[in-house]
């Protein structure tokens, strides 16, 4: 242990107090203060916490903070250092089971406590996974590779491209399915870009995460992992999918198409929903139940196409009433090459923006319209304002979700400067990002409180 580690997280008065009494992190101590005394082990302190308190783990297992200013004496009795480690066991090999590769990018699917910040950080190894979810060995032979260890908000082009390339490598090696562990916040962004970068996959590519970290007994991580590994190993759906809880109950997961899925609640387990369509399938520990038949099937070949083109100078502009044209101007002036607008209603913005949109068009910037209602199609003929905008070069992008359109435009602009070609790429669906029709059950947001909905909820556990 290095010297600063002996006082991990401590500074100021608390640090001085520890030092002056010869105590350090993991010391087993009795602290006498002006009001009483506390007995326990000195714990590291979160770096963001104040410099005034010493954290003790009492014999009862509780932690308390003792104000340094009140400390009169510290008696050190010994030392007990904690090693937080998930029991690691070798993942058993069964020649009769399919090979599945788990690629880790981070997120809370596997995590451990971080004393430095007091928050959870991602951890990942096949042995650890087997140690905490032994059921995985009943499904497949699991190999793992940690590509990245980042929270999902820190995923970017470098990680997307790296992940797509790793998928290509694994398919070439003949794995029967791929699972990608990912933080949930931007899982649908990554699912979208992988749907474009990885074409014609012969095997399932399943993205998975958890809404409750795996250090909680009620975590959805274990079940999500089982569902996703089962899908990768056994399903005949050779697409990029997101596999997360269907209901909040521990019942089944849903397999969402990578281009139609979106995180819709900041904390619910059942946060991922297919928008404007229905999911591909349901998955439980026992079986996979397709909800539709128009998915790409598993194949024996390895003819995957990896196209990792990506232009970073693309932005999403979420329109709001009273938006000023300088928002668009600043993108133009900063050499952006593509703009996705999330417009109101059928795809509108206010008139004051028109001159800026015209300027963007003249500067050869690709501008595409999506809807902030998320559900429904862009339709710019219904009102004159829409027609005016199309005149200004704004392209309606059907029912592509704003984040998906962002990813696709980056991917298209990465391939060509020719806006006509970009338009052709944008408007030709490659992975269900634009659908020809919206089924009536593609928009179901049940309204709580209404008698028939309440009746439904009380009849089916959700």
């Amino acid at each position: 242990m290095t010297a600063p580690d002996n006082y991990r997280g401590y500074r100021g008065e608390a640090l001085d107090t520890l030092k002056s009494f010869g105590a350090m992190v993991w010391s087993d101590v009795e602290i006498t203060t002006d009001t009483g005394s506390f007995t326990g082990i000195v714990l590291p302190r979160s770096e963001t916490a104040d410099p005034l308190h010493i954290v003790l783990k009492l014999r009862s297992g509780y932690n308390v903070g003792v104000a340094a200013e009140g400390v009169r004496a510290i008696t050190v009795h010994g030392r007990k250092e904690a090693h937080y480690k998930i029991p690691e066991k070798e993942f058993p090999y069964d020649p009769a089971k399919p090979r599945v590769k788990l690629l880790g990018t981070g997120g809370t699917i596997a995590s451990r406590l971080d004393y430095r910040t007091g928050a959870v950080i991602p951890a990942f190894s096949p042995g650890e996974l087997y140690g905490s979810v032994p059921e995985l060995a009943d499904i497949c032979n699991l190999e793992t590779e940690k590509l990245y260890g980042v929270f999902s908000e820190n995923m970017g082009p470098e990680q997307w491209i790296g992940t797509a390339q790793a998928i290509g490598r694994e398919i070439a090696k003949g794995v029967q399915g791929i699972v990608i562990g990912h933080g949930t916040d931007t899982m649908h962004h990554t699912a979208a870009i992988l749907s474009f970068m990885v074409q014609n996959s012969p095997v399932p590519i399943v993205m998975v995460g958890s809404q409750r970290s795996s250090d909680r007994p009620s975590s959805d991580a274990a079940l999500n992992l089982m569902h996703s590994v089962k899908t990768a190993a056994e399903s005949d759906i050779a697409e990029v999918m997101v596999c997360m809880f269907g209901p909040t109950s521990d019942q089944y997961g849903l397999l969402h198409r990578g281009t139609r899925v979106r995180k819709m609640h900041s904390s619910y387990r059942s946060t991922f929903r297919t928008i404007g369509d229905i999911p591909i399938a349901m998955v439980s520990r026992e079986k996979i139940t397709p909800l539709r038949q128009d998915y790409k099937r598993r194949r024996k070949d390895q003819d995957v196409i990896i196209n990792t083109a990506f232009e970073e100078k693309v932005s999403i502009v979420y329109y709001y009433p009273n938006m000023k044209p300088d928002i668009i101007d600043s993108l133009i002036d900063n050499n952006y090459r593509g703009i996705i607008i999330a417009g109101t209603g059928l795809g509108h913005v206010n008139k004051p923006l028109y001159p800026s949109l015209k300027r963007a068009h003249e500067k050869n910037i690709a501008v595409y319209m999506t809807v902030q209602t998320l559900w429904g199609y862009v339709q710019m003929y219904v009102y004159d304002t829409g027609r005016d905008m199309m005149e200004l070069g704004v392209v309606p992008s059907a029912n592509m979700l704003p984040e998906v359109a962002y990813m696709k435009l980056g991917w298209a602009l990465g391939q060509t400067d020719d806006l006509a070609k970009v338009r052709q790429i944008m408007m030709t669906p490659v992975a269900g990002e634009i659908t020809e029709r919206e089924p009536s059950n593609g928009y179901l947001i049940f309204q709580g409180g209404i008698p028939e909905v309440e009746e439904f909820i009380s009849r089916y556990r959700r």
Partner: protein, 638 residues
């Protein structure tokens, strides 16, 4: 040597077995909202709108170890169903939303109680997650924190140490637990409560109850805790010399404590004797021998109904052989309870074989299997005359789990008393609930930052801390107020007002105590127990008494007003009676009296007083009226 019946046990008997007991008292706080979310507190309903299903998996503690209880609960593989009512539960309790900040109102009450116990207060509180894998909390852990340590209360000629005072969220109410399915109602979940933990300082079951009662009164004296069924629940820790700390969970009433703790002491005493007997027979943890065998085929033709039916439904039967255990399953543990219950309980809880009987054994005198069937089983598992056989039946997995739990529990008997939490049963005995959790189930809550408690804030709170009720009682004894008001006044939030009334406003102690306790009680009896008397109104009432704007006779009508929700002000009182009005009234009443035939002339004064007070009640002090009447009568008939 046997354990004496409950009624014959003396203090020295308990001392002889080394009886030691401590309390953990859970007391709900009187807050508007729950502890970590903004759901209304104290709203209960058995009806529900939705159900959700969860499973629990063990996780590592902060120090990198698995907790024993957690692993046990995982073995049970329970499906947990939560019943949810939209009015009492939000997405926080369902574990679908992170916690909101700790409820300030609840924290301040906890701090107040901590100061009342004289605890060393924590300068910075850290929220911990205490794992509960039984499903009683949907997160799988209880958010809990320590606000103070090392307090004490006086008891007899010694002090009882308060080890710690915690603030935590309450758990679900269990609806049912059958097979692999446990159902919980979530309305109580998340309610703020304080947990008072005493050291094992009590030496007899009666002492445990008495200390429980003192602590109950102490926290109630703040006026900031909930009362009524389920608002306070006791866990009692018991051990005897050579025994183990065993926790009896969820004792709803303090009067149940003596018999329950007696039973546990008896159980430990008898289990230690059982161990001695095993050792005498040469059976130790090292030499312990057991085996189990599936015997379904051998019992196809049995006429013992529970097994016959089970086998007909495709269930399996497991036979466990305990080498050298002959007759020991009939070893008494508690009153009318035997060692076989220890095994049956484990099989019920861990193997989820919840339909009773779930085991039968060859020591049993009651008719179960035919003796020829026992003989067949003996042969199958190669048993001798010194051994005992136990039969367990259920689906294949559960029957196997039951057999292995049977072996585990029997082996523990050679070692001593397992650390367990046990349920309080109605007959005063207790049954196995789960393995006693240790500090390994604690984990820091990473969802909430630590919270600083400044000295200034504590100082502020300390001004509200009531004087301990036992000190109040001492003072009341000196004052000589009516016996029946002492106890309730000592823990009443109005005890502070009483002190002001006597010391600052010079009101007679008896009058003040009657106004604050006796008369409100009478009003509550008439109007229902839920009426309340606001401190503000009661203070105004006392001040009016002090200034003679209100008379003793006028208190009752005013209290009825206050109870029905009206704030009391002096303006609402009828005007005081003037001398002239008193003169008039007395004269008028005298007239009435003179026209009436009076059979007992010596009672004229009394009759006259009645007439006058009928007119002036509440507006004049009785003594003033009485004086006037005496004088007037003396004038008319000298």
């Amino acid at each position: 040597m046997t354990f004496k019946p409950f009624s014959e046990m003396t203090e020295s008997d308990y001392a002889a077995v080394g009886f030691k007991s401590g309390l953990e008292i859970h007391q709900q706080l009187l807050t508007e909202k729950k502890l970590f979310c903004r759901c209304p507190a104290g709203l209960y309903s058995d009806s529900f709108n939705a159900e959700i299903l969860r499973h629990m998996r063990p996780t590592l503690s902060e120090l990198g170890e698995y907790d024993g209880t957690a692993l046990m609960e995982f073995k049970t593989k329970k499906e947990i169903i939560y019943q949810i009512n939209h009015n009492t539960v939000c997405t926080y309790e369902m574990d679908d939303t992170p916690p909101f900040e700790l409820n300030d109102q609840a924290l301040d009450i906890a701090l107040e109680v901590g100061l009342l116990y004289g605890c060393t207060m924590v300068d910075e509180i850290h929220i911990a997650r205490k794992q509960y894998l039984d499903g009683s909390i949907p997160t799988g852990f209880q958010r809990t924190t320590i606000v103070g340590v090392q307090g004490s209360i006086p008891y007899k000629d010694r002090t009882i140490t308060i080890v710690q005072l915690g603030l935590e969220e309450d758990a679900c109410r269990e609806v049912s637990d059958v097979g692999h399915r446990r159902v919980y109602l979530t309305d109580r979940l998340g309610m703020p409560l304080i947990e008072t933990v005493t050291a094992p300082d009590m030496r007899t079951p009666q002492e445990v109850a008495e200390v429980g009662e003192i602590l109950r009164k102490l926290v109630r004296s703040t006026g900031k805790v909930r009362t009524g069924p389920g608002a306070a629940r006791q866990d009692v820790n018991v051990s005897v010399t050579g025994g183990t700390r065993v926790e009896i969970k969820g004792v709803p009433r303090i009067p149940n404590i003596p018999l329950l703790t007696y039973s546990e002491a008896m159980r430990q005493f008898n289990l230690l004797r059982l161990r001695d007997e095993l050792h005498r027979r040469g059976i130790t943890a090292e030499t312990f021998e057991a085996r189990s065998e599936e015997v379904t085929k051998l019992l196809r033709k049995t006429r013992y109904m529970p097994v016959k039916n089970a086998i007909a439904e495709g269930m399996k039967a497991q036979c466990v052989l305990l080498r050298g255990f002959k007759e020991l399953l009939r070893w008494q543990t508690q009153t009318d309870t035997f060692f076989s219950r220890e095994i049956s309980d484990r099989v019920r809880v861990i193997a989820c074989l919840t339909t009773l009987p779930n085991i039968i054994h060859s020591d049993s005198p009651s008719e179960t299997l035919a003796s020829s069937e026992w003989q067949m089983l003996k042969k199958a598992v190669a048993a001798t005359e010194d051994d005992t056989l136990i039969l367990i039946w259920g689906n294949e997995v559960d029957a196997k789990a039951g057999a292995s739990e049977t072996v585990i529990r029997a082996k523990e008997a050679t070692i001593g008393i397992p650390s367990e939490t046990r349920q309080a049963l109605r007959d005063g005995t207790n049954g196995f609930e789960r393995i006693l959790p240790g500090p390994d189930r604690m984990y820091p809550d990473t969802d909430l930052p630590p919270r600083r408690i400044t000295r200034e804030h504590l100082k502020n709170i300390s001004t509200k801390v009531p004087r301990p009720f036992y000190e109040n009682i001492q003072w009341y004894n000196e004052l000589g107020i009516p016996e029946d008001v002492k106890d309730p006044l000592s823990i009443s939030p109005h005890s502070v007002l009483f002190e002001s009334a006597v010391k600052r406003w010079g009101i007679s102690p008896t009058l003040a105590s009657v106004a604050l306790i006796q008369l409100p009680k009478r009003v509550a009896r008439n109007l229902g127990p839920h009426v309340s008397f606001s401190s503000h109104s009661m203070k105004e009432l006392l001040l009016a008494l002090k200034d003679h704007d209100l008379t003793r006779e006028g208190i009752l009508p005013v209290l009825r007003d206050i109870a029905s929700g009206r704030e009391f002000t002096r303006e609402s009182l009828p005007p005081g009676c003037t001398d002239a009005e008193l003169d008039d009234t007395v004269k008028r009443s005298l007239n009435v009296l003179s026209r009436t035939k009076v059979r007992h002339p010596e009672k004229r004064a009394e009759l006259l007083m009645g007439l006058v007070m009928n007119d002036l009640r509440g507006r004049i002090d009785g003594r003033v009226a009485s004086d006037k009447i005496t004088r007037t009568l003396a004038e008319v008939q000298p």
